[in-house]
Point group: C2
């Protein structure tokens, strides 16, 4: 290791070099860039200093918790812009920085050779070159040996030739003294596991998984459903809160009624009751042991468990008695309920993230997450994080990921765009999106193009949900099968991460009139469903998820190109896998009419069997296996949404 | 002043608010934004925090050396983007920052009114509102009095009405407690005097201002030329180095010959001899007293003096003996001359800006600048700063401007674009540009568009020189009057700062064959000229400078719009003054042919006498005074470059 590079971190921004316009960097390095482990990270920067000497530059990078820097060279691209790359080989938080220094030996050699060609006296210049050898400080054993040998050779012979060998050039590149070495600030980067980018989510309410009407479902009931969910091809099962519910104070009734029948099970988001709080399970679901059994059963079905994490409390939550200082009270000593005037949520209170005892609250919430990690959970869907402290979430995610780099946090926040981006920046692995409510072709195209541009592409990972416990989008209210298929096909192909909330596959569609909420929502009551109800679209969803698994082009979101189809109700796009081995074209109807149209392919190229890039010559229908050649650089397509609103093709060279 | 805003500087970047995408900011605040004193500075930022409370934000700003912050409100524009403005009223370095906080009282009032409308019980809510009043901490005497009075009124009557008055709202806006106040980092800004943006420069070699062939010119000779230079309408007289010259060691002869006749005066950039160094004047020019007389004479002619500042040394410079540690030596103890292998500058040595005694060198160079400021100079044309340390220049300019905020530094550096931008960023008030060598219409349009885009527009101020002591552009070699006129008209109208180097007005055009250097350059010898030589273009230059003075549109560079003329050798652009009171259109030929063409004006609007924006209806020729109405939204123009290659018009409504 080069000793001169052991500069105190953060102190070197005022060195001889200007290191500017570093890419990627989120808000100048305030927030981390996101990547997937083992993915190549390309770093660009403008690097220059005064004068005309030969400049060298390199990347240094390491895991945030490690001590040893790792290095990668940078090369000059053009116009003082440099590029280098590295690939983090472990999941976790990393930092990187750029170093630049003058290559004094190469500069000397360039000048020496020019001067020698001009016929000038070069005796002094040779001595100066040898002098640089004596200042070399670093480099491995081999480099040092070469430097010493060539220096001795020069002194013995008096000839400059030993100073001009390529071996010495290489040794000095490694070992020379770098008095003007300048290091940029450190830039953070999170290398996540692959699931952070790709996965199909199935969200369900565990107490509604039973089969006897009026009876509270159990973890065992949930286990009984896994084969069916696996058959649909999902990767992640996300459970709404599994904790005891406050039922003695302000229990909510059906459809969020402020008075409830004695038998009403309460709002599952009113977390905490006599039986415990966020680290307990609702006794009617089973025991903690049952939950661990559920986690293990999921794993055996190739499914990973995600839990809702909601930093909200029923008035019965044990913390209200144990830590009253964590909650705000009103002037008469009563609780301050969550409110959205004039509406009230009398069954929920929010903690005060900035009380005098906030440190203990923050630790306790972190310990809740760590508790569920100990039970085998690695994914958390954080509910409405935009209503609590941004600084808290940044701290929590960092704290957890330092211990468990494989932890994934989804921000379930639908709010103003800058605030949603702010949550993604501060550390949420994935974000819910406006997709759920956006249906127009131009909306979808514009939204995707917003998500894939820099810098959003480097910190915001979308997860496209077609519905959620809180939201039944307008377009689903009429219950048309083609529309449910169109929406799930859009979600599953536009975004590498997507999800459905249970009931979608059964085409559940009845809202509270005039609202986007489900009528008789499971949030406030227990449902029992016939999961094989006629008309369900489970086989269709299963086909979509099969196609996603078989086509890496659909396992990423950032490489998407919208193709021009002259129909405002047909959206068409091509996606290509990161390794360029696979290209998929999706053509999806946004309205129910049967139509035929021409899809031009232009100059689109794809990787052929021989590894070369060639024009697309045929399409393979990924549902039917049928192959169709392109003709005149395009293809005539037929969509009957009543049968299938989506055509998915693999492109063949 | 609000006590809660007395946050330690730089410590608040992690507050409750995200304050992002601040405009203007150069490299995230690493370098200062440039403005002219009393000019309005508009600041934009994305500002948001979690939740839905009502947010307030403001600017704080002050001179860097002052202690008291000044404040300006910010208003919400749209989509969490805020804007505010201030106008620095003193020349000098400033800092600004953004503060954001929750307006808890306005949030309370909004909730209170919604709840009251819903018919809910509001007694507790009123107590909470009154509670906010008791926490108010700041605000002036009047606000405090209102807050106390309304609080007492509420307690006396039990009615919430006293809490809802507009006067109380205003008082609380000013005085309420702001527990979540977040301050951004500080951003630097330089407010320069107007000369930093606008001025016509005349650069001359003082020893060539005499009238007797073979005799060294004097400051008295320079004074004798002032009336002529004033008549040409220049604002700044820039002198090449006026210091003693090293003549005993490696003196250069005519055309940079490495051997020189005994009588050769030496290279005026080989600074320092037996008579002194950078703080002395060449004895043949006169005394320091004579120089001060020259400065005073310039002032009486409305001219300001600029001096070349070159951090380079002849081998005879006193510092080489006094401070040998400031200079690098070769292994045999000889001087290391400036070199550009295989070419050598044996009459110049460069200092080592990073020797162990560099601090003393930096101070000595700063003291040289301060010495000339004491003699009445405020403008310095720094020669080839890109070959010395960037960090040194940043330090020097800051050091000088803290003492003399009116000091102006021009970077005379033609090098790679990023390095030129780097010099402008680190503090140079103005920069020389590629204009001198660029002649094509597309080059000029593209270059101007590069200069006026963000962020370049906020740190880079161009000074367009038509020639320089080091550079006689190719296009002038043939000596055609129309070309000299075209080039000076382009410089004088495209850029609010521009300059000529003496001899240009006499159409001097003879290069060293095959080079861009003047043959028999004054750098190495003394010239005597007939300043009224027939064919000179002094009257033409005088007219250009008169038009510049009379038309504020030409006193700024950033508002320029290129108009479409269907001729690759005619460039056309409109410029409008900062206050929109004046619009000038320039049409300039880039080749000698006579031509006629149509200039469309489209929807171009200008401020009419009644202050309204109206379509342009007529043009006033600024050379002839002739007025021509527009017809069919444009005008047919005739250019005869032999007479005048430029048409300059004032636009009339």
């Amino acid at each position: 290791m080069n000793k001169t590079t052991q500069i105190v971190e953060g102190a070197a921004v005022a060195g001889a070099f200007h290191i500017e316009d570093v890419y990627p960097a989120i808000d100048g390095g305030r927030f981390p860039v996101k990547r997937i482990v083992r993915e190549r990270v390309e770093i660009w920067a403008d690097i220059y200093r005064d004068g005309h000497d030969i400049v060298a530059a390199g990347l240094i990078w390491r895991r945030e918790r490690d001590h040893e820097w790792r290095r990668a060279p940078m090369t000059h691209h053009s116009n003082d812009r440099w590029v280098g790359a590295f690939a983090p080989d472990e999941v976790g938080r990393h930092v990187y920085a750029i170093e630049a220094w003058t290559d004094e030996f190469a500069t000397w050699r360039r000048g020496f050779e020019l001067k020698r060609e001009s016929g000038a006296d070069i005796a002094l210049d040779a001595i100066e070159g040898a002098g640089l050898l004596t200042k070399a400080q670093a480099g491995g054993h081999d480099a040092t040996a070469i430097i010493i040998r060539q220096c001795e050779e020069y002194l013995r012979t008096g000839s400059a030739e030993p100073l001009l060998t390529e071996a010495l050039m290489d040794a000095m590149t490694e070992g020379q003294f770098r008095p003007d070495l300048t290091r940029s600030q450190l830039f953070p980067l999170v290398a996540d596991r692959a699931r952070a980018r790709y996965g199909a989510w199935y969200e369900m309410v565990p107490r509604s998984q039973g089969s006897t009407p009026g009876h509270h479902g159990t973890f065992q009931d949930c286990i009984a459903r896994l084969a069916d969910i696996e058959a649909m091809g999902f990767d992640v099962i996300c459970l709404t809160p599994i904790h005891p519910i406050g039922v003695t104070t302000n229990r909510k009734g059906a459809n969020n009624a402020s008075t409830a029948a004695e038998a009403a099970p309460g709002n599952s988001y009113a977390i905490g009751g006599a039986e415990g709080g966020h680290d307990a399970v609702h006794p009617q679901l089973g025991t903690l042991e049952d939950f661990r059994e559920f986690v293990a059963a999921c794993a055996s079905h190739g499914l990973e468990v995600a839990l809702d994490f909601a930093a909200q409390y029923s008035p019965d939550h044990p913390w209200l008695k144990q830590h009253p200082q964590w909650f705000k009270r009103r002037p008469d000593g009563s609780m301050r309920y969550a409110e959205d005037p004039p509406g009230q949520c009398e069954d929920i209170v929010n903690p005060d993230f900035f009380s005098d005892d906030a440190g203990a609250l923050w630790n306790a919430l972190r310990d809740v997450v760590l508790f569920w990690i100990d039970q085998g959970v690695r994914i958390f869907r954080v509910v409405r994080p935009h209503t609590s402290s941004l600084r808290f979430w940044e701290w929590l995610i960092h704290e957890v990921q330092l211990r468990h780099p494989d932890a994934i946090f989804l921000a379930q926040a639908i709010t103003r765009p800058k605030l949603m981006n702010g949550l993604a920046k501060l550390g949420f692995t994935q974000s819910s999106t406006y997709f759920t409510s956006w249906t127009q072709k131009w909306e979808l195209e514009q939204y995707l193009n917003d998500l894939i541009r820099y810098p959003e592409r480097d910190f915001h990972r979308a997860n496209f949900f077609v519905n959620s416990p809180d939201y039944l989008p307008d377009r689903l209210h009429s219950g048309e099968p083609w529309m449910f298929k169109s929406r799930v096909a859009l979600a599953a192909t536009l975004s590498s991460s997507y999800g459905i909330y249970d009931g979608f596959e059964l085409l559940e569609q009845e809202p509270i009139p005039g609202s986007g909420e489900y009528l008789f929502s499971e949030k406030y009551e227990i449902k029992v469903r016939d999961w094989d109800r006629p008309g369900n679209i489970k086989p269709y969803i299963g086909e979509l998820n099969r196609i996603r698994r078989e086509n890496p082009a659909l396992q990423q979101t950032l490489d998407v190109n919208f193709l021009p189809v002259d129909d405002v109700n047909v959206i068409c796009f091509a996606k290509e896998s990161v390794d360029r081995s696979n290209m998929v074209v999706a053509v999806i109807a946004l309205s129910p009419e049967v139509r035929e149209f021409w899809l031009p392919f232009g100059e689109t190229k794809v990787t052929a069997a021989d590894g070369k890039r060639r024009h697309v010559t045929a399409l393979e229908n990924l549902m039917t296996g049928e192959r169709s050649p392109l003709d005149w650089g395009g293809i005539r397509l037929h969509i009957d949404p009543a049968h299938d609103p989506a055509l998915l093709f693999r492109c063949l060279a």
